[in-house]
Structure formats: structure tokens, C-alpha cells
């Protein structure tokens, strides 16, 4: 099939796609052992789709890495495994549950496991000798992420030092690093939540079903609808009810909330996101509400 382009003006979505593919190819060519973080969440699904396009007709030339909190939605794990099999990829899993079981980590008082992902992540990076890890972080997600580079140099503790970042000029990404250091690469840094959904819509990308409206048993906590599940039990005073909801982000079930929504398709979600008056993290992530600098603190500790 041929496409003739008349006015030679790239749409913003095409420009963002080309930029992401360029970054994926650059980092993949300059590093020896890349890996791509893949959780089954929408941003990582888009990342994998971009990687497949970047190297077509070759297969994605690196493994995918998932740091499993053990608090995931079952349908997301099923989706993860099916996707990995369909694309013929190798999946490396770092398990927070294993670390808790053998005492290397202990459960937090508030029960959330997002901050506990950092050690299994760093261990997976050093055990597999990954020198660059692709992440789906976006600068529009958070004020700390707005200062993140496309290529982010990390020391052996995975720490991010916002005061000491390399300037990033033109399309020249300097990924030089020394022994013990590694690099995090963020090809979709410049995408917004709306861009992600428009791209999912345009490309017909499959997602775990919980991103779309469905009936679910939920209860109200911290101003969010929380799913009833093994790691997310209502207190006696929290009334369980069935609501039509969807998730804007999927993460640790114990701190991720759903929003009431009738959006049953990507097209519906695009409309909903365009009209939304609340950010996705503000709406659905209890852990980012802890303080103004919650994300900044996690990033400095080696988080994505």
C-alpha cells in the first residue's frame, strides 16, 4: 500500500511517533544490553508497539522487564503474558513478593508496594547486566518528571540527581556511562495522556480490558473508587457497591483508584480525557498524594 503525502506537514502524533522511534533505535544501537520495562499498563504497551515498529521487519531486539508488585490486577498479568508470547519476546520478572517472603523487603504500614519496586528493579538490572532500560515515563505526569532527560544517567544505586544532569541538545543523546552506571531512556517523554490515547485509537492497540468501562465491585476511599480484591479490602464502614468504572492508570491495586466512566472504546476515552479536569495521577494514585514531592523522592531513590 502506498501513501502519498500532499502538504508535507507531519501531524503532532506522527512527529511524536518518529521522535520515539528515533530514540529507541539510538539507545538500542549505542548500548549493548537494553531492556524495556513492560507492565501491561497503557504507556508500556504503547512503548512496545513503538519498539515493534522501530525494528520492523525484525523482531524487537531486547527482552522486556516487569517488576511485579504482587498487587497486580489478574487481567493485566494475563495481558502481559499474552503480549510477550505474541511478539516472541523474553520476559524477565523481578518479584516484590519474593523479596517480602524472604525478608529482603518488608511490607509498608500503608500496604502500598509501589515504593518497594526500586530494589527488585535495581537487582534485575545488575543481575542481567542491562545497561539501558526503556521506560514509559512522560514529562506531563508530574513536576519532577518534567525535568527528566530523555536519557537519564543513574549511578549504581539507580539515583537520579536533578541538579547534575547532562544538557540534551538537538537530537544528540549522550549515553556514555562508566562501570556500575546505567541509563534510563524515556522515548515518550514528550507525549501527553491525550497523545497516548489518540495513538492507541489510531493504531488500534489492544489494552487490558480494565482501561474501558466495566461493572465492578468498588468502595469509596480517599475520594477514589477502589476495587474490592485480596489486597484491597473495604473497612466495615466502607460500603461496597457495583459501579461502572474504568482505570486511567493500572498499578498496585492497593493504591490505584478507578474513575466512574462509560467510555467503552479508545474513541470514548479520547473524548473523556480531553474533557477531564483532573490529571491521571491526581485522580487515581493515592501514593502521589502523599506529598508535593512524592514522585521526586521516589525518583531520587532509583524509581523510574
Amino acid at each position: 500500500m502506498s501513501t502519498a503525502i500532499g502538504n508535507r506537514l507531519l501531524s503532532s502524533l506522527d512527529a511524536l511517533e518518529s521522535e520515539a522511534i528515533h530514540i529507541l533505535r539510538e539507545a538500542s544501537a549505542e548500548f549493548e544490553r537494553p531492556a524495556l520495562l513492560f507492565s501491561g499498563g497503557k504507556d508500556s504497551v504503547v512503548m512496545l508497539h513503538l519498539a515493534a515498529k522501530a525494528f520492523w521487519p525484525g523482531r524487537v531486539p531486547f527482552p522486556v522487564l516487569h517488576v511485579d508488585t504482587g498487587h497486580n490486577f489478574a487481567e493485566v498479568i494475563t495481558f502481559r503474558d499474552e503480549t510477550v508470547e505474541r511478539l516472541g519476546l523474553r520476559l524477565v520478572v523481578g518479584s516484590v513478593q519474593d523479596y517480602i517472603d524472604d525478608g529482603r523487603l518488608s511490607e509498608r504500614v500503608d500496604g502500598t508496594r509501589n515504593p518497594l519496586q526500586t530494589q527488585p528493579l535495581l537487582d534485575a538490572i545488575s543481575t542481567n547486566r542491562f545497561d539501558v532500560v526503556f521506560g514509559g515515563g512522560r514529562r506531563d505526569e508530574d513536576k519532577a518528571r518534567a525535568k527528566e532527560r530523555i536519557l537519564s544517567l543513574r549511578d549504581e544505586f539507580g539515583q537520579w540527581d536533578p541538579r547534575n544532569q547532562r544538557p540534551e541538545l538537538w537530537r544528540l543523546y549522550n549515553g556514555r556511562h562508566t562501570v556500575g552506571q546505567h541509563v534510563r531512556a524515556f522515548p515518550i517523554s514528550n507525549w501527553t495522556e491525550l497523545d497516548i490515547w489518540r495513538y492507541i485509537e489510531r493504531e488500534g492497540i489492544a489494552l487490558p480490558p480494565l482501561y474501558y468501562a466495566h461493572a465492578r465491585e468498588v468502595f469509596r476511599r480517599d475520594g477514589m473508587w477502589r476495587a474490592v480484591g485480596e489486597v484491597s479490602r473495604p473497612e466495615p464502614h466502607e460500603k461496597v457497591q457495583v459501579r461502572t468504572v474504568r482505570y486511567r492508570t493500572v498499578g498496585d491495586m492497593s493504591c490505584t483508584g478507578a474513575v466512574e466512566s462509560d467510555a467503552a472504546s479508545a474513541t470514548d476515552v479520547v473524548r473523556e480525557v480531553a474533557l477531564s479536569t483532573i490529571t491521571e495521577r491526581g485522580a487515581t494514585r493515592a501514593d502521589d498524594r502523599i506529598s508535593e514531592a512524592a514522585m521526586e523522592d521516589r525518583k531520587k531513590d532509583g524509581y523510574f
Binding site: I5, H22, D195, E292
Partner: protein, 464 residues
């Protein structure tokens, strides 16, 4: 709610526009950025709540303006704890907003210690630079520096926002005097199209909406200006010769994507990259550099889709008629438009590191998709901001802009930066710790110096 739908650009026609803001300390740049986001309805309710809370906690601007309690809009952008505690901006921050006409990427470049570094970084990808000037102070050394950097990097559009116009009582006389000062500085730099707009970021005059308090100003608001300007990629696509640095060679052989027919792709060999300038069509004659190899484009692939034509900044895979020995680091260019590779290069450097440059330093040069060793053999001069001329200098330090001669270990397919931004720019990297020392812009090169390493084509095309 209805206003927000107006902020969704049309998917088919909405383009991406990148701009950078630069200002001196206390010019109110964070406030201007916050104002742009706020008045273009790009700030969502929970972000606004957080700013309202923080503004109240810090007792920001106790006085209401026009009966409306003011928010510290700088808090929308100063994201890091140290920034909020010290009231400063540490590093370039990227912001995203959209209007019905465009999606914008804003690089907010702070004016503190590493001012040149931040401005160069933001300007290197920008379609436009907005330089902020305090109406009370007029043109400062920093202003001249920002204008010089923007001009050096050939940012297509330069806008000067004369801020705090409310603090000079919306005086036309004061604005005209600052405007004349700005136009003089721009003219010294050879810049002929500086747009000057009077604004108050704090009160919102002429940022998104045209102000009634500046009846003597008939021009558009800052946002209206940004919505109308043609973007860099329009310019790169339109007038420049085709340039395509090869990022990687795609030969799937055993590692074919699942679902594809192995027989069909057995001999597939494509060159992946991003078009950095111009347009390419199937059937075009192209040169491969280094060396003097020429061939013809036989196909343009975009992940399973075959294109007749592609243009900057698309990422594609090119297939060529001859099976040449092409690797990462090579450049595919429109035939007959490139002067050849070179080992001796003259360039402007923006020095970005606290570690000063001494002549004779061994460095790494990252250009396009290749990184080679190099030596900076001579410092020809350093830019003096008072006169905008090069003065003799023994070394270049942090924030200096200088002209140098350098020699690289193997020939690079450079263009002059003025002719092609992405094949005319490079990074200078410290071979010891890997840090970026400088941004380089090619001003000239000597093709006669191409040595034996450039003679790769001697054996002729490797046709299999």
C-alpha cells in the same frame, strides 16, 4: 468544561510547535509560563488546587488584583523541592499544552548559574525562543546573551516579551524605548525579524488575551503569535536537501517479527533512521558518505507500510538498489548536494561545562549517529557580548561562546550548521567521565583533508 474542548487540536491538521523561554533572574519567567498554562486552560483542577493551597500557605501576594486573589503561578512549574524552598528554577523543564490550532512543547530555561547551557539546550530544538525582559530594566547583558544564542542556533523565530509592563504603568514611551533597544541589539546580530510584545505575566496582559490596558499596542498576544508561526520542520522539509543519518541496519534473517513470511524477508536489508532535512522519493539518486558512493532509493518502509515519499522528521527505513557496505554513522544524502566528509572542521562552541577548554584537548565528537575521537587544535576567539565580535582568548570557560578549529580521527559528513541544523551540529564529550562539554555548530570544513579512511568506496559497490 466547554473551554477545554477548544484546547484539543485537530488530529489531522494539528502540528507540534516547540518553543523555549529564556530570561534573567527575577524576570518573572516562571510566572509567565504559569500564566500561559493557566490562561490557555491547560491547568487541571487538582494542579490548580495544589497551587492555591501552596500560595495561601506561603502568603503569596496578599493583595488581590482587580478583586481577584492572585495565585503564585510560578508554583505550577517550579517542581523540585529545592526550587520551591529557594524560589529558584534549577533545570530546563518541559511543559505541554494545546490550543485548537496546535500542540505546544515548552522548554522553560532558567537564568541561573548555567544560563548559557540551559538556553542552548532549549533553543537547540526550538521553533521559537521567547526572551523575557523586565520593562523597568531594559536590555541587560543576559538579554544580549539570549539573543546571541538564539541567533547562533538559528532559531527561526525570535520573540521578546517586555514583562512587568504593569510596573511601568503601562507606559507606551517606556515600551517603545525598550523595544528600540532590543531592535538595535538584534540588528547588531543580523537578526531582522524580532517580534516585541508588551506583557504582564502577573496580571495576564497580552499573554493569551489582548489587553485593554495597552491600547497603544495593536499587535497579537504572545499565544496568538505562537499559534501562527511556521514551525522548524516546515522549514527543514521545504527548502533543505535530503539528509538521513543511518542509525542501524535492519537485516532480520533469523530474528524476523512473528507473523511475517521468512521467504519474503530472507534478503531484506534496510537502513533505519530519521530524516533530518528535506524529502526523499522512491527512485531518487542518493550519495552515501563518507566516501563517494552513489545509488538509488528502491523503497521506503514505515513498519510494514511502503511509502512513495517521506520527509523530515519522519523515522523510516530506506532500501537501496545496490547492496553497499553501509553502517551506523554513515549519512545518506541527496546526490550532488553534499561537499564530502571532512577531518578538519571549524566550529562555534557553546561551552557548557565548569571544566574549561584548553587548546589541544582530546575529546569525543558525537555527530549524527557516529562518535569519533578529536582534538581541539586552536581557539580562534571568544564572543564578546558588548560588541558581538570574537576577541582573542586562551581558553573557553562555562557559558562562553567561542570559535575553534578541530581535527577528528575519521572523516565526518558535516554540513555547515547554517545549511542543515542536524548535520551541522555536534556534541563535545569528555572521554574521561563521558559528560557533555560543549555544543558545536559547524561553520566550515575542509573536504581536501579527507584521508584514507574516507576512501572506503575505493573497491566499488559491494554488489551481491
Amino acid at each position: 468544561m466547554t473551554l477545554l474542548t477548544e484546547n484539543v487540536p485537530d488530529l489531522a491538521t494539528g502540528s507540534l510547535f516547540r518553543f523555549a523561554t529564556a530570561g534573567s533572574v527575577d524576570d518573572g519567567k516562571s510566572t509567565l509560563v504559569g500564566r500561559l498554562l493557566h490562561d490557555s486552560k491547560s491547568v487541571l483542577a487538582d494542579q490548580l488546587d495544589a497551587v492555591e493551597r501552596a500560595s495561601a500557605e506561603r502568603g503569596f501576594g496578599g493583595a488581590a488584583v482587580d478583586g481577584v486573589q492572585q495565585l503564585d503561578l510560578a508554583l505550577l512549574t517550579d517542581g523540585l523541592r529545592a526550587e520551591r524552598e529557594q524560589g529558584i528554577t534549577i533545570d530546563v523543564a518541559y511543559r505541554y499544552f494545546a490550543t485548537a490550532k496546535r500542540s505546544f512543547i515548552l522548554a522553560d530555561c532558567p537564568g541561573h548559574v548555567q544560563y548559557t547551557r540551559n538556553t542552548v539546550t532549549g533553543a537547540s530544538t526550538a521553533d521559537a525562543v521567547v526572551v523575557l525582559i523586565d520593562a523597568r530594566k531594559g536590555v541587560l547583558e543576559q538579554t544580549r546573551r539570549h539573543l546571541a544564542v538564539a541567533r547562533l542556533l538559528r532559531v527561526p523565530h525570535l520573540i521578546a516579551a517586555v514583562n512587568k509592563i504593569d510596573l511601568v504603568d503601562y507606559s507606551e514611551a517606556r515600551f517603545r524605548s525598550v523595544e528600540a533597544e532590543l531592535q538595535r541589539a538584534a540588528a547588531e546580530l543580523g537578526e531582522t525579524s524580532l517580534t516585541v510584545v508588551p506583557v504582564s505575566a502577573l496580571r495576564g496582559d497580552n499573554i493569551v488575551n489582548r489587553s485593554e490596558r495597552t491600547p497603544w499596542y495593536a499587535g497579537p498576544s504572545l499565544l496568538e503569535i505562537l499559534e501562527r508561526l511556521p514551525s522548524l520542520t516546515d522549514l527543514e522539509t521545504g527548502s533543505e536537501s535530503f539528509r538521513f543519518p543511518v542509525q542501524t541496519v535492519i537485516r532480520p534473517q533469523g530474528a524476523l517479527a512473528p507473523g511475517l513470511d521468512p521467504d519474503e524477508y530472507r534478503d531484506y536489508r534496510g537502513y533505519a533512521g530519521q530524516i533530518v532535512a528535506g524529502t526523499v522519493r522512491v527512485g531518487d539518486a542518493v550519495a552515501v558518505l563518507p566516501g563517494e558512493r552513489t545509488t538509488v532509493v528502491s523503497a521506503i518502509d514505515a513498519a510494514g507500510e511502503q511509502l512513495d515519499e517521506a520527509f523530515a522528521p519522519q523515522s523510516v527505513v530506506l532500501r537501496l538498489r545496490e547492496d553497499l557496505d553501509i553502517a551506523r554513522g554513515d549519512l545518506i544524502a541527496e546526490a550532488g548536494t553534499h561537499g564530502g566528509s571532512s577531518r578538519d572542521i571549524q566550529a562555534s562552541l557553546c561551552w557548557l561545562s565548569p571544566k574549561a577548554l584548553e587548546p589541544g584537548s582530546l575529546v569525543l565528537i558525537k555527530h549524527g549517529s557516529s562518535t569519533v575521537r578529536g582534538r581541539i587544535s586552536e581557539i580562534l576567539g571568544r564572543l564578546d557580548l558588548d560588541t558581538f565580535t570574537d576577541q582573542p582568548a586562551a581558553r573557553l570557560g562555562l557559558n562562553d561562546i567561542g570559535t575553534v578549529r578541530l581535527r577528528v580521527a575519521s572523516p565526518l559528513p558535516v554540513d555547515a550548521y547554517a545549511a542543515s541544523r542536524h548535520t551541522g551540529s555536534f556534541l563535545v564529550i569528555d572521554p574521561g567521565d563521558g559528560n557533555t562539554l560543549a555544543a558545536g555548530l559547524v561553520t566550515g570544513s575542509d573536504p581536501a583533508s579527507v584521508g584514507p579512511a574516507g576512501a572506503r568506496s575505493a573497491g566499488g559497490p559491494d554488489v551481491s
